[in-house]
Symmetry: C2
Subunit: 329 residues, 2 copies
Amino acid sequence: MQNRTGVPAYAKRTTLAAAAALALAFAGAPAIAADTATSHQTASQAGGQTAITAATRFVEANGIRYAYRRFGKPGKLPLVFNQHFTGNLDNWDPAVLDGLAKDREVIIFDNAGVGASTGDVPTTFAGMATNAEAFIDALGLKKVDLLGFSIGGMIAQQITLDRPELINKLILVGTAPRNMDAGGGQGHLTPETAAIFTAKYDPPENLWLKVFFTDSESSQAAGRAFLKRYFSRTKDRDQAVSDKVAPAQMAAVGEWGDHPGERFAYLKDIKQPTLVVSGTHDTIVYTVNSLYLVQNLPNAKLVLYPDASHGAWYQYSSDFIAQVNSFLK
Amino acid sequence: MQNRTGVPAYAKRTTLAAAAALALAFAGAPAIAADTATSHQTASQAGGQTAITAATRFVEANGIRYAYRRFGKPGKLPLVFNQHFTGNLDNWDPAVLDGLAKDREVIIFDNAGVGASTGDVPTTFAGMATNAEAFIDALGLKKVDLLGFSIGGMIAQQITLDRPELINKLILVGTAPRNMDAGGGQGHLTPETAAIFTAKYDPPENLWLKVFFTDSESSQAAGRAFLKRYFSRTKDRDQAVSDKVAPAQMAAVGEWGDHPGERFAYLKDIKQPTLVVSGTHDTIVYTVNSLYLVQNLPNAKLVLYPDASHGAWYQYSSDFIAQVNSFLK
């Protein structure tokens, strides 16, 4: 399948970045909480918070000030989330965060150069992984469970390869290994990704109905419910991502897809128990990549949800939470 | 990959059948219980039974006498099991049957010509489906949940197509759609299947360690635990399958694989919610076929277990039972 416009998506970085920035314009005002607690002890003592109420906090490492939120039930290992393309702190589904926070602390953060975090977005996932590791270290954490969604799953793979002692278990959602199958799309973006991100939406947030959900009535209904949850945080929303984010993240996708050497061989070095999740019809990161992951990772379980695309875990949040609770216990 | 011997597996039917018969010789003495209750009311009142103690019963339909066992907690729809290649009543994992029977009745049966059931084994899954439907009808059941394992999953697909009003939900384990991917193996059997079933094992039941489990230490340990469970029924074991079973079932696999027309198009007519389960490394029915199923069935969820082959659901029986309980609730 080709990009609808016939123009290679990768050659249209500016347009894509503009579309992404437009789509994210509704992320709300960049009001940041004054609370800049940097120790995890302080953060973890703030009980009773939710995805809607948890304050945005900050921690510094290597000259970068990282924005993050941390909430949930202390005791077990915290679960650290790595965000998708052009996503910031507000792009996670509150239903998933709050569901998982009942049994553990969840930590979401803006990687360097994203949202309210300072610094530049590297043009490789290796660079983004290094920054994520600095963030986790700055919280004083010695062992965490790690989740990555979409390009966040690529960063999560790299973090686990870099710092195996830091990662207990790994959850990869809607993501792909290096040298993935993107249907021959330019820059290793699927043709559907290019088409979806360059189209116009009214209202603009309807972009996410196309990115995360299938065209079926029931999936679109799940999408509208997701958008309601998405907008339910009205105070202390994150800063919109700058127009530098999308081009750098797309360059990283290109580098990830171009990886030379034996295909998927590097996955044997990720020995952590891994849960891989996607939809049966993910058009943003093709579902077959989830099969490649579990067939090449030494210890990986796969769950694919029906009639679901890139946002499968948002469409089936209750089941996803149960799967994760079973996997992490 | 080619058959180790270089001889097409399909041309070696006699050898394969002999190997299968040999492997199944340990199924034990053909002692059949005198209890020949034919009504499901009678059977379902027999509480407290297990996979080890449930009596073998009989019911007649269309001139065939079907051997079956039925036990578990009455109330919900019963779950009817369709067995794998050359398997009889004793080839199910007691851990799975008893785990599922805590929440519903389970019904296992020998299809026509298999084990203690009379009649001939048809050479197509369509024929086997017709016989299975006659069995379910003979029990007076108007609606059931249906499970099929391996070739039993092919029969289960056909039953659901034939009689959609009879089937509530469908569970397909280690199976494949028509026109499946068998790695170019003769007769649509994978090269590994041919090699595994024609090899010699000492003791013979170690065949199942190769069929159902990977070569890893932990998977083989799970296999040995499975064999212990497998042998734990010592009284009223089923009759060994005759040497007519394997050739007919292999012919049916060939016909299933040869299906003409648009690949996988027929799956859109199976509208029941479906749970598809396999291992990440199923060498008997390649794992990719599970992806084909969930990508072409309208409403299908996939679970793949790590470091697992054709017997993934036996290796992860507790997780499988939880998945099924969640799916059928």
